[in-house]
Subunit: 302 residues, 2 copies
Amino acid sequence: MELRILGCHSATPKPGEFPSAQALMAGNQWLLLDAGEGMQMQLRRYKVKFGRIKHIFITHLHGDHLYGLFGLLSTLRLLDRRTELHLHGPPPLERLLDEVFRASQVELTYPLHFHTVTADRPYQILDEKHFTVHSVPLRHRLPTTGYVIREKPKPRKLNPEAIARHPEIGIWAYHKLKAGEDFIREDGSRIPNDELTLPPPPPRQYAYITDTAYLPGIIPHIEGSDVLYHEATFADADAALAEKTFHSTARQAAMVARDAGVGKLVIGHFSSRYPDPRVLLDEARAVFPNTEMAFEGKILSF
Amino acid sequence: MELRILGCHSATPKPGEFPSAQALMAGNQWLLLDAGEGMQMQLRRYKVKFGRIKHIFITHLHGDHLYGLFGLLSTLRLLDRRTELHLHGPPPLERLLDEVFRASQVELTYPLHFHTVTADRPYQILDEKHFTVHSVPLRHRLPTTGYVIREKPKPRKLNPEAIARHPEIGIWAYHKLKAGEDFIREDGSRIPNDELTLPPPPPRQYAYITDTAYLPGIIPHIEGSDVLYHEATFADADAALAEKTFHSTARQAAMVARDAGVGKLVIGHFSSRYPDPRVLLDEARAVFPNTEMAFEGKILSF
């Protein structure tokens, strides 16, 4: 997987500080996570090819996660896109898009399929060839959903040295070996699969959790993530404000990362009240050392 | 007046190429003209103080003139604005804003007054202390209005040398002299106003004309403008495309400028098909030499 962070600030953006928007390469396609204002410009800046976008996921309908969507969908029309696009988000989004495009009197050139994501329970919302996407209900001021993208197990790898020792294994058998089957000779005897193949790299998992109050209940749903992006709007000194506005502190994000045993934590959605958000990074690292700070243009391969 | 161009490209923006958005300083307030995506960031970048924005004018509801409005209005709320804001635009805009803010479940902290601008006839839409604003119906794919901002005549200037020759003129009379009245002595005799005062600087006028097909009918409404901003989406070679999409070529913009006798023409709203829009500038200058090209961050004082 490869993650490109296009925007990671909370509302009231300043020049060069874009609101929430990410692109994740999974299964040879770009998944878009949230669509803050300016997203289409950021997609171009960071070389995310529009033609390889098939699914867009919106966490909730606050403007700093949404107001770049209308422009992006319009631009895809102007680029004469014809392939279908899938949009996953809270129920009112479908009607809102209708209103926006009706006001502009534009018709899209491509089929736009809207998939309602309800925030009442966690469930699998997408099953693609190479990955699945699950929703994770969060706790914010309006219905909000996080997303977990999980690669499917890859086929086992052939062990060329082991196979060379058995001339009776023809190329025709490789497919079954990769799928984990034993090799069965003509006489019915069998070579166990694990003598001929190596385990595949473990499937990767990415969790995108924003915006939310501190919510340990999500831990079972994000466990085992290689990378967790978790909002960290406030510093510890403003914990009361975090609670009041249904946001998390950096320390709370780190507690979730630690208790879910994720590989790496990336914090973002910084309030503009912190001229230097490294204070948030320090507070998170005190709890979960393998924490990194999001920034526009950050690329993570895992 | 002072004009700051915040964005001047047509749809499908690229990094650093913002869609239509301008700020005009008139009568000690910033008037905003259109609100393309990213406008709030551009306002900050080019030092347009949010607190001095009172009126916003939207020409039409295509996304490249509109999709920055939602974010700007939301940010004013987060900045806890309390003073009223006036929004002028086509009728469906009011309902659209209702839908957007209902979806986000946000309430504005300030009174937002919506003023419908109908594109059926030119008329005065605003009468402020120091200037007026008139609408100019344009010809585009959906109802579209240009705007003409006209300063009111300033008071005449006192001529200190002339007044010094008449010790009978007290300070109490200055106000009436500035208003153009003659000075009347106690014996009833009179000193003509033009012996005591100088004419004020002529009132300034700015015309904002976008998006539109070539439309000579607007000329009487924009005559006498010190600066005319006119869209110039296409080059002459693409005149057929301009006609089909209800846009103007650079040459057509220049013809309007010439026939309206404006002081200066600024062209913008360039199609992304021209890697170097100077080809548009050359075509316009062949018809109207005093033409300049818009660019993000351009400032014009007049």
